[in-house]
């Protein structure tokens, strides 16, 4: 999925309400509908209709061949009793930790340190080079990165060799093959993948902050931590919202890395709804059941996005003094 960026933070600009449109003006605007036509048709064909199709299929039993058989809410009832389904959502919570909580917190600290300490007390190039190192995983096809990591974490892979080399050979482990360590290992990889995004967005955001604020605080004797909490955090709150929202959506939808690293295994220890749905559709050929999983995931994403946008709007209103 696509993670968006700070530019997207701006909601469609509120238009200064024009005086009640005259008939002529309304007629003029109506002609603009023509420009929406190609986009609207494509949208209905590729997103609208398939979404309704999946909703319908989630109420049927179907193997993909012949006619779907209507079963009402059976699939959803079955889901509630399905351990794999619950396991996949439990793992999603851990993905939220690895892809939202840790990267946002670490990213805030790193961006502040890179901007404030390294950028000012060392050469700008130093901060630029360090930032590029953190950002690099973000530009790669995540599946390819996942395949490299899969090899590194293999029993005979580079990570175990590294442990041997530093005298920790006793810790050698089948990191992705053991249900006990597979999820933490996948989480570590996801932190590695994700961390560059908040670092870059927050560093861009810090440019907006008036340096005089910091100077005034320094004169008042505020130390770095004070300034971080009193100035940096509140000033870049809009970007924090965008990062948290886009990372949350990405974490709820995560598929590629799971596919490349573990295929949800071992024993569903790393299964996530998105991979569970894919597997149910195309490997188990239970289209109705897979559709029900997808619809639950869709519902969760819509609700989460709604909550975020509502919170963002509320905090913006509060900033304006209400």
């Amino acid at each position: 999925m696509a993670v968006s960026e700070t530019v997207a933070a701006t909601p469609p600009a509120a238009t200064p309400t024009p005086p009640a449109p005259s008939r002529r003006r309304r007629g003029r605007n109506a002609a603009y509908w023509l420009y929406l036509l190609p986009g609207a048709v494509l949208f209905l064909l590729v997103i609208g209709a398939p979404l309704v199709g999946t909703l319908y299929l989630s109420l049927t039993k179907w193997s993909g061949i012949g006619d779907p058989r209507w079963v009402g809410l059976d699939n959803y009832q079955q889901l509630l009793q399905d351990d794999v389904f619950w396991a996949s959502f439990r793992n999603t919570v851990w993905m939220l930790v690895a892809m939202v909580v840790v990267p946002t917190v670490l990213g805030l600290l790193l961006a502040a340190v890179l901007f404030d300490v390294i950028g000012r007390r060392f050469k700008p190039r130093t901060a630029a080079a360090l930032r590029a190192a953190f950002y690099l995983p973000q530009v790669l096809p995540v599946v390819v990165a996942g395949i490299v990591w899969g090899w590194i974490l293999r029993p005979d892979g580079a990570f175990n060799s590294l442990l041997d080399a530093v005298g920790l050979g006793a810790l050698r482990h089948d990191w992705l093959g053991d249900p006990g360590t597979a999820l933490p290992a996948v989480m570590a990889v996801m932190i590695w993948v994700q961390i560059g995004y908040p670092v870059v967005v927050f560093m861009a955001a810090l440019q907006r902050v008036d340096p005089e604020l910091y100077e005034a605080a320094e004169v008042d004797g505020a130390n770095w931590l004070h300034r971080f909490r009193a100035i940096t955090l509140p000033q870049i709150r809009p970007e924090t919202f965008v990062v948290a929202l886009t990372c949350t959506i990405a974490a709820l939808k995560v598929f590629g890395p799971i596919f490349a690293l573990t295929r949800g295994g071992p024993d569903n220890a790393t299964n996530v709804p998105s991979y569970f749905a894919y597997y149910t559709f195309f490997k188990k050929l239970q289209v109705g059941y897979g559709s029900a999983i997808s619809m639950v995931l869709t519902l969760i994403i819509v609700v989460v996005a709604g909550i975020f946008i509502w919170m963002q709007a509320r905090s913006e209103r509060r900033d304006r003094g209400f």
């Binding site: 999925m1 696509a2 968006s4 997207a8 701006t10 909601p11 469609p12 238009t15 002609a31 603009y32 509908w33 023509l34 420009y35 929406l36 986009g39 609207a40 494509l42 949208f43 997103i47 209709a49 398939p50 199709g53 999946t54 790193l110 890179l114 901007f115 300490v117 950028g119 700008p124 630029a128 953190f134 973000q138 530009v139 096809p141 995540v142 390819v144 990165a145 395949i147 590194i152 005979d156 892979g157 580079a158 060799s161 590294l162 590695w192 993948v193 560059g196 560093m203 810090l206 990405a250 598929f255 998105s274 749905a277 559709f281 195309f282 897979g290 999983i293 997808s294 995931l297 994403i301």
Partner: protein
């Protein structure tokens, strides 16, 4: 799958007279050391990959993943290159990502023109709908798309993937451009209208040239996002003739061909284009963003 904008010039405050007590202290060196250590940890996987991509299988099995290669071995690279017909995969990825970038921007532009400048009724709801569509999990669309593509003969064609991603990407593009066009100077539009320009002329002669930097950024995002996509190409493209770079590598996972050196060689080859694009596009991205900010 997450690509973001990166202003290439780092935001660094120009040196200013600092009377700071940290300035001469050791603490800043400790901070630098810690952050550098973190950056090196980030790069370790790439080092592992490079080290083993040029290692012969014999070398690998005797020396393990950390040993220095005894010879500069490129057969792994060549094996992967020819076995998967990498030039064809590159072409497939380029055709899909390139077409989606151009078509996606075109559709976004038309949509946003109606929403941001035309201000058609209910535009806030429509923009919200597009934004939501961009967030949907692809699993919620994939089976009907897969089924219909099979029925109409688009299954296993690049066209199917191009159409799907044009719509998915333009959902985001519409959201972004509609908000940008909402702030478009009305005076420019009115002047053009007074000169007798129709809507189509205004779009191409007034709006398009002014938005070119933003459109360029969008074009690059769409290209990179589509290049890195996985689920839909995995489902839709099933043979060697049509697959993209990430799908080709993933579908060889566990294959006998893919010993450790070949896996690393394949990953290396697959990563190079993405890194190149990133370097090439960095400048455009930075320019586009500044242009957007200084409006």
């Amino acid at each position: 799958m997450a690509v973001t904008l990166t202003p290439s010039k780092v935001p660094v405050t120009p040196a200013r007279p600092v009377r700071d007590r940290h300035h001469r202290g050791v603490s800043r060196w400790v901070v630098l050391a810690l952050v550098t250590l973190g950056a090196l940890v980030m790069l370790v996987p790439f080092a592992f990959m490079l080290l083993n991509a040029f290692k012969s299988p014999g070398d690998y099995s005797s020396g393990g993943p950390l040993s220095w290669p005894t010879e500069f071995y490129t057969k792994g690279l060549r094996t992967y290159w020819t076995e998967v017909n990498f030039p064809l995969k590159f072409w497939n990825s380029a055709v899909i990502a390139g077409s989606v970038a151009v078509l996606g921007v075109a559709v976004s532009l038309l949509n946003a023109y109606a929403l941001g400048i035309g201000r058609v009724r209910g535009r806030l709801w429509i923009v919200g709908l597009f934004l939501l569509a961009n967030m949907l999990p692809q699993e919620a669309l994939i089976y009907p798309l897969y089924y219909v593509a099979k029925q109409v003969g688009l299954y296993n064609t690049q066209l199917s993937v191009i159409i799907i991603f044009t719509v998915i990407q333009s959902a985001f593009g519409t959201y972004l451009l509609a908000s940008v066009m909402g702030t478009f100077p009305r005076s420019l539009l009115e002047a053009a209208a007074l000169d007798g320009a129709g809507k189509w002329t205004v779009l191409w002669r007034v709006v398009f040239p002014n938005l070119r930097p933003t459109l360029a950024v969008l074009l690059i995002f769409f290209f990179i996002w589509t290049w890195n996509e996985f689920l839909i190409p995995l489902v839709m493209l099933i043979d060697n003739q049509t697959q993209t770079i990430p799908v080709a590598l993933a579908s060889l996972q566990g294959d006998r061909l893919m010993d450790a050196p070949t896996t690393n060689a394949g990953a290396l080859i697959s990563l190079v284009p993405a890194i190149l694009f990133f370097l090439i596009f960095q400048r455009t991205l930075a320019r586009g963003i500044t242009a957007g900010a200084e409006k």
